[in-house]
């Protein structure tokens, strides 16, 4: 997939997530007090407002909750990669990720509920982007 037009600027709070991506692991936040997980990364726990935030590695396998194949690009940056397939992937704890589905198939062959694995596509020396493969 041609993704070199994509730019991401990690913040102080998200650097740990993106560092995980560069090392092929899915790292998200877990509250040291209430134990709940959250994504995206924040300075506090959005469930109980504790500042006792820890980072944990999460199983990269989730399930397709929905999908779409985009034919009309939102802007010129995406015109060379249409049609591309976006999946909405559900993980335990009601955590969702948006991402590209690699090795895209016709829409009729993508099953909602199918298991997908988060993989990481290196787009430059600093950023590897989470993407998904059906397993």
């Amino acid at each position: 997939m041609k993704l070199d037009g994509i730019h991401i600027h990690p913040t102080a709070y998200s650097a740990n997530f993106w560092d995980g991506c560069r090392n092929n692991v899915l790292r998200i936040q877990q509250c040291g007090d209430c134990g709940k997980k959250q994504f995206y990364p924040r300075v506090i726990c959005s469930h109980c407002w504790s500042k006792n935030i820890t980072w944990v590695e999460m199983d990269r396998v989730g399930k397709i909750y929905s999908h779409t194949t985009v034919y009309r690009p939102p802007s010129v940056e995406f015109k060379d990669i249409v049609p591309y397939t976006i999946v909405y992937v559900k993980y335990p704890g009601d955590i969702f990720f948006v991402g590209y589905l690699l090795d895209a198939k016709p829409a009729g062959e993508i099953q909602i509920g199918a298991r997908v694995e988060m993989c990481f596509e290196q787009i430059n020396s600093e950023v590897s982007l989470p993407v998904f493969k059906i397993i």
Binding site: L3, I6, I8, H9, P10, T11, S14, W18, F39, Y40, Y65, S66, H67, T68, T69, V70, Y71, R72, P73, P74, S75, E77, F78, I81, Y84, I86, Y88, D94, F96, F97, V98, G99, Y100, A107, I112, L129
Partner: protein, 385 residues
């Protein structure tokens, strides 16, 4: 102190409107709305407006007022909640009037997404508001978000995408009857929608509202002041709001919309029930939204919205007429101001001014607005008596 507020003047214009900017169009609409009410410039003592994508000022209300020469008026506010701003603007204006902070308030919203931005730049502007790290890199934009919801809808209720097409066809019929201030007047069929250009499957071009210029203005005042004005007052009964999230990827189900709680809250402080609504105006930026709204309103079962529409129930003579002006889908979608045309239509229907598209004995109308990736919603209730 007034018990409730009334809309006394309205104006709307939607389409391709070259040669204008937000200020010039606002001025023309304001003069039209003031004339509609039978008021004069000196009656206006408050103003509230929402944002534009072309003019990025966060204080458009006071800029509008300055442009039309209002000075030393009593009250101003700006609401920046995307297309949901309309419900909030009505609430803020009604509360200000009830509190005696102002008597007659202009509520306005205009933009030039088509002439001022071009189609491509308007689409890009809507993509640029997505989360910079977790959404924008994936080319996620509004049509793709609605497509993800639409796909989930078809999966959960085991339906074919044709259920969405019926909405587009019905909105076009309404626009053809309205005929003026509408972008599209050619009839379309279910087959045309199915064969229109693919945008983000399962949504095609005719499932997506076309970008337009335009906007609308309403003038609200006290019940007492409204009595001796030119037009029959239309009363604001209540508005219920609901805010769920903001970034798309925080959406917990794709199908449980923020509309439902806003509808419950709108009715909670009235003596009305859902069955009392004679007319629904819904922010139909994409066809699936209309089905979700009908189901949230409980006029049909979950997953049965498409069948309800196919049977003609949202036509002017149907069980619940919806967007009798053609909606965003066929009148055109000016972006954030889109909802103003819906409120203007509610007022005109409740006044009985709609001619060939008049809903018989229309007494109660509901307008539903939402903003963000369907992350916030408001439901307003309007009455002719």
């Amino acid at each position: 102190m007034t018990r409730r507020v009334a809309v006394v003047g309205v104006a709307e214009r939607i389409g391709k409107i070259p040669g204008h900017d937000v200020f010039s169009l606002f001025s023309e609409l304001l003069i039209e709305a003031v004339a509609d009410a039978g008021l004069t410039k000196t009656a206006i003592d408050g103003i509230i407006a929402t944002q534009s994508l072309v003019n990025k000022s966060t204080r458009l209300s006071t800029l509008f007022a300055e442009y039309v020469g209002l000075r030393n008026y009593r009250w101003a506010d700006s609401v920046n909640l995307g297309a949901q701003s309309h419900g909030t603007m009505i609430c803020r204006a009604a509360n200000a009037i009830k509190a005696g902070l102002a008597e007659t308030i202009v509520i306005g919203s205009v933009d030039f997404q088509l002439s001022g931005l071009t189609n491509d730049l308007a689409v890009k502007a809507m993509a640029d508001v997505r989360h910079a790290e977790y959404e924008q890199p994936y080319g996620l934009f509004m049509p793709a978000i609605m497509a993800l919801k639409a796909r989930r809808y078809l999966h959960e209720y085991k339906k074919d995408r044709e259920v969405f097409s019926h909405v587009a066809v019905q909105m076009r019929r309404h626009a053809m009857v309205k005929n003026e201030n509408v972008l599209f007047k050619q009839p379309i069929t279910v087959d045309d929608v199915a064969k229109s250009k693919r945008i983000a499957d399962p949504l095609n071009l005719l499932d997506c509202a076309p970008i337009a210029d335009g906007g609308g203005i309403i003038i609200v005042t006290t019940e007492e002041r409204a009595r001796d004005l030119k037009k029959k007052p239309v009363y604001h009964l209540n508005t219920g709001e609901n805010y769920s999230h903001d970034n798309f990827h925080q959406d917990p189900s794709l199908l449980s919309t923020p509309m439902k709680a806003s509808i419950d809250r709108a009715f909670a402080r009235t003596e009305l029930s859902r069955n009392d609504i004679d007319l629904l105006l819904i922010h139909d930026a994409f066809t699936p939204i209309v089905l979700l709204a009908l189901e949230d309103l409980e006029v049909c079962d979950r997953g049965e919205g498409g069948e309800f529409v196919r049977e003609g129930n949202i036509g002017v003579k149907g069980k619940l007429p919806v967007n009798t002006h053609g909606g965003l889908l066929s009148q055109g979608h000016p972006g954030i101001p889109g909802g103003m045309a819906h409120i203007v239509e509610a007022v005109r229907q409740l006044r009985g001014e709609c001619g060939d598209r008049q809903v018989l004995d229309a007494r109660i109308a509901s307008s539903i607005h939402f903003g963000g990736p369907m992350s916030m919603a408001s439901t307003s209730l309007w009455s002719s008596t």
